[in-house]
Symmetry: C2
């Protein structure tokens, strides 16, 4: 596995790969890699001769009250995991390479960016869209892999990629969970053992919402109320049962509708998110 | 010369050119091509086996009070001129190809975008940055050519290209002028014969500013005052003697400083802009 630290070197490497006829998959990450990231690397490595894992803790997607400073950084473990799962390249630029002095360009993706996560974390998705565009420009991939756990992020990246004609396929892979249902997250390592137990309420809320969605006469509101019940005692940022493309609220849901349930809550100073996609009335559950 | 109308086709064509070893120059235009554009096409054709001229009247860079509807559209003449000067490809997408339903991504380039032209035309440079990024993604060029006449635009495109790691070289070519000094512009065709005479005041203002800059003790203010004197009777949007990179106001200018003088004024319903770069105390003038 080749380790690349500058944008110019990465672009040169990518151009050489393309000239050689290789297709390129990229897995953009903020490091602190876990099995969720591993599943993305595996998916890319199965399909593309070249898989680039990017590791960059992007300051522009953290707000002043967010956990940028304490976000876990584990570069040696990240490199070992990426190589183990089949990455051919690790792109690990430093902040000054990505945001040199005088940097002033930001990308904004309309109304999808200002609801749910975007309402709680103003500017977050501008930072995400901007860094992903830059990472695509640095790696020039054919396909990029993201986890469903950051559902709203995947919508915004798809929209930006299409709107700007970036010519990158966006593939969203299923959320990877612990045996008890907790979605894997780099932030799980912040949790105390007591919080680790409490955190399961998010998954219970999603399952309760899913059941409610399958109930005759369900509406966005009745689903959200069921979800909230499972979250008593947590500091809930939002629960939402919304349209899977627009994230707009739902009135009555009927058999055959596909909806997405999302939840965000805080446990002490740790903030967790999770979601499930539900096809109403399906037998899958 | 090949005519290309869709983004997907353009991307395929560009990839094939690159695979074949050709470098690609692009000349982004809004059509109504004149000798200024011809000089850009020539510069690209001298250097690159492939030169793509893009013609797209970009709605997102026009404000509600701007001249989008009446902006001149001369597609047949544009194609003839592009081919004559050595373009190998003409990319002429329609608006729905560039901004399909649901389009919602915009690019903003910080403080450079909000002064001078940006103050008079709010949002203009967001539209410019966005469409240029999209045109780069569609054509994937090695180098792009712009005219100095749109000086502030060239700064913003350079900044965006660097900030987003787009990997495109930005080359700025000198403003082409009529024999009497009027800068070529697609909008000159709006001018009545009386306005055509009046329009020379812009060039006179730039020459007066240049002389003032060479005077001992000159400041941004003394230079701008001299420029304004030449523009009496016109509706002046701004005159500016500013730093060539930051567009920030100048105090005293001294020998060896490089500064830029810019002017924007209206003649009836037609708005004209012009600029010159001055190296203070040089013998060039």
């Amino acid at each position: 596995m080749k380790i690349v630290k500058t944008v110019a070197e990465m672009q040169k490497e990518s151009a050489a790969l393309r000239t050689g006829g290789a297709t390129i998959g990229v897995v953009p990450t903020m490091g602190a890699l876990h099995s969720g990231h591993a599943s993305l690397i595996t998916a890319s490595a199965l399909r593309h001769p070249a898989t680039i894992v990017t590791v960059f803790v992007n300051p522009t997607q953290f707000g002043p009250a967010d956990d940028f400073a304490r976000y876990p950084r584990t570069p040696d473990e990240d490199a070992a995991l990426a190589e183990q799962y089949g990455a051919t390249h690790l792109f690990i630029p430093d902040t000054s390479a990505m945001y040199p002095q005088g940097y002033s360009t930001m990308i904004t993706v309309g109304s999808l960016s200002t609801v749910l996560e975007g309402a709680v974390r103003p500017g977050h998705f501008d930072g995400v869209a901007t860094v992903v565009c830059k990472l695509f420009a640095a790696t020039h991939p054919h396909e990029a892999y993201f986890g469903q756990k950051d559902y709203q992020q995947t919508l915004i990246i798809k929209r930006m990629t299409r709107d700007l004609n970036l010519g990158v396929g966006i593939t969203v892979c299923p959320t990877i969970r612990e045996a008890d249902g907790l979605a894997l997250s780099s932030r799980n390592r912040y949790l105390t053992s007591a919080d680790r137990v409490t955190a399961l309420a998010l998954y219970r809320a999603l399952r309760a919402g899913r059941s409610a969605a399958h109930t005759a006469g369900a509406t966005g509101k009745t689903i959200e109320d069921e979800m909230l019940q499972e979250l008593s005692g947590l500091q809930v940022d939002y629960v939402a049962a919304v349209h899977p493309d627009t994230l707009e609220p739902l009135e009555t849901v009927i058999t055959g509708d596909t909806i997405v349930l999302l939840v965000a809550a805080r446990l002490g100073s740790t903030r967790l998110i999770d979601n499930v996609i539900v096809t109403v009335g399906s037998d899958a559950y």
